[in-house]
């Protein structure tokens, strides 16, 4: 099967408006979480008053006409994909050999709910004619496919918070199988809207640390009380090693594994034994032809929920046994919040940068590490020791989805 490499990255996140600036802010230990100033917070008495809002508004980047026809999730997707495409040097590829795999967890929730408000207040004739293409979950992938002229297929994985990773895994296998030479892959989310916040709050999934938003996302800390919603997108350009080499492209690293499993345990709770998550990690390493000792860095799913963080630790321990102590683990949601369908994508960007820079980013807000999660989690950035290190990035989602990516430094 064909070898696949990463030649471009893009991101717009709560930390910054580009992949590199987001990485720099992450390494500097910044937080992207802030108090929501929108009128609807007070209007509806929303119980959680903070989130990880995109640092740069999409409306500052796109033309008004582009923005008007795209849900905010698609706006973020397009911005990150264009950045990744430019970063890859705008590869000259036959449109029939260029594909898109771009995920979202929720889809065009702003568009859908705005349209319902319009219907109720002004009647059906005032509902925007673009409502359907804007709200559909394949909207972000379709927008990118249109912008880049991709004709080898435009695909959307939807698996809640595992969506971004699943999309990238699908892209990896698509190139391995020879269905495309270049794929733009990633995920986006724009769900900082009163309804999703209320719904996540109703299930007690969100942190309620309203008085100190920057400290609210604290994976592995004894005082963690839930996740923090984030928004934005991450994008990768993946292509065959042959294609990248032939055109003399800059290569960040090789993608060597992408595995998806499912728990069939509970619709929202993780399997406390971590069996499905462990299988996903093992399969990704198997695809990579890597041993567990080859793995030096893990970008954990680590959303900062009391139950989820422990379940992931259990799964990691199951896979790595005594090698667990040697893993340098990063829980980057501490800085960005949880981008849901975009999470896997921006964490892939961070994992790729970690391998390229040989540097594990710090995990902030880890003041008192949960004694039940004895992972090695650097508080300040720490160097990797192996030039051929393998890193994995985990994402898990409601529905029992487990998706794990594996990358190898080159």
């Amino acid at each position: 099967m064909k070898r696949v490499v990463v030649t471009g990255i893009g991101a717009t996140t709560p930390l910054a408006g580009s992949a590199n600036a987001s990485w720099q802010a992450l390494v500097a230990g910044k937080s992207g979480i802030s108090t929501l100033e929108q009128d609807w917070v007070a209007q509806y008495e929303i119980p959680v008053t903070f989130a990880g809002q995109a640092k740069i508004s999409a409306l500052d980047i796109l033309t008004p006409q582009e923005a008007k026809r795209l849900d905010p999730s698609s706006q973020f997707a397009l911005i990150s994909a264009r950045e990744a495409w430019a970063d890859a040097g705008e590869p000259e590829v036959e449109p029939e050999r260029l594909a898109v795999d771009f995920a979202t967890g929720i889809g065009g929730v702003w568009t859908l709910l705005d349209a319902f408000d319009t219907l109720k207040e002004r009647g059906p004739r005032r509902v925007l004619p673009m409502t359907v293409p804007m709200l559909m979950p394949n909207g972000p992938a379709a927008a990118i496919g249109m912008a880049l002229g991709a004709r080898a297929g435009v695909h959307t994985a939807v698996s809640a918070c595992a969506s971004g990773n699943e999309a990238i895994a699908n892209a990896f296998h698509r190139i391995q199988r020879g269905e495309a030479d270049v794929v733009v892959a990633g995920g986006a989310e724009a769900a900082i809207h009163p309804l999703p916040i209320s719904a996540f709050a109703a299930m007690h999934a969100l942190s309620k640390r309203n008085d100190s938003p920057e400290q609210a996302s604290r994976p592995y800390d004894t005082d963690r009380d839930g996740f923090v919603m984030g928004e934005g997108a991450g994008a990768l350009v993946l292509e065959t090693l042959d294609s990248a080499t032939a055109r003399g492209a800059k290569i960040y690293c090789e993608i060597v594994g992408g595995s998806v499993t499912s728990d069939s345990y509970h619709i929202t709770a993780p399997d406390p034994e971590g069996a499905g998550a462990a299988r996903a990690m093992l399969q990704a390493l198997e695809q990579a032809g890597a041993s567990i000792e080859d793995v030096e860095h893990v970008n954990a799913h680590a959303t900062s929920t009391p139950v989820g963080d422990i379940a992931e630790y259990t799964a990691i321990k199951r896979v790595f046994g005594s090698h667990t102590d040697n893993l340098l683990v990063a829980a980057t949601k501490a800085s960005t919040g949880h981008l849901l369908g975009g999470a896997g994508a921006i964490e892939a960007v961070f994992t790729i940068m970690a391998l390229k820079e040989q540097l594990v980013p710090p995990t902030i807000n880890l003041d008192n590490q949960d004694p039940n999660i004895p992972l090695n989690v650097p508080r300040t950035s720490m160097s990797l020791s192996r030039p051929d290190a393998v890193a994995i990035s985990n994402s898990f989602g409601f529905g029992g989805h487990n998706a794990v990516l594996a990358f190898r430094a080159v």
């Binding site: 008004p64 006409q65 005032r126 004619p129 673009m130």
Partner: protein
């Protein structure tokens, strides 16, 4: 208050610009919405609905297909406004 033909043209050009980014100057009476201005049916519906609000006129769906040129729209609006 009724709008003059010139006012309707200027207002319509503004709506077209807002929806599509086409410069207002390009929106002239003899231009076809689809052939000259490259406006698709979805944008056209948005422009029609916004024109209804702007000029206080009702443009029935079955009438929209007859609005081939800018002049067709300007004349319909001028003749049917409140």
């Amino acid at each position: 208050m009724a709008h003059s033909q010139q006012e309707v043209l200027a207002g319509l050009a503004e709506l077209v610009n807002d929806e599509t980014g086409i410069t207002a100057d390009a929106v002239q009476m003899d231009k076809s919405f689809t052939d000259d201005l490259d406006i698709d049916s979805i944008s056209m519906m948005t422009i029609v609905v916004n024109a209804e609000d702007k000029f206080g006129v009702k443009i029935p769906d079955e009438e929209v297909k007859n609005l081939i040129t800018v002049a067709d729209a300007v004349n319909f609006i001028t003749e049917n406004q409140d």
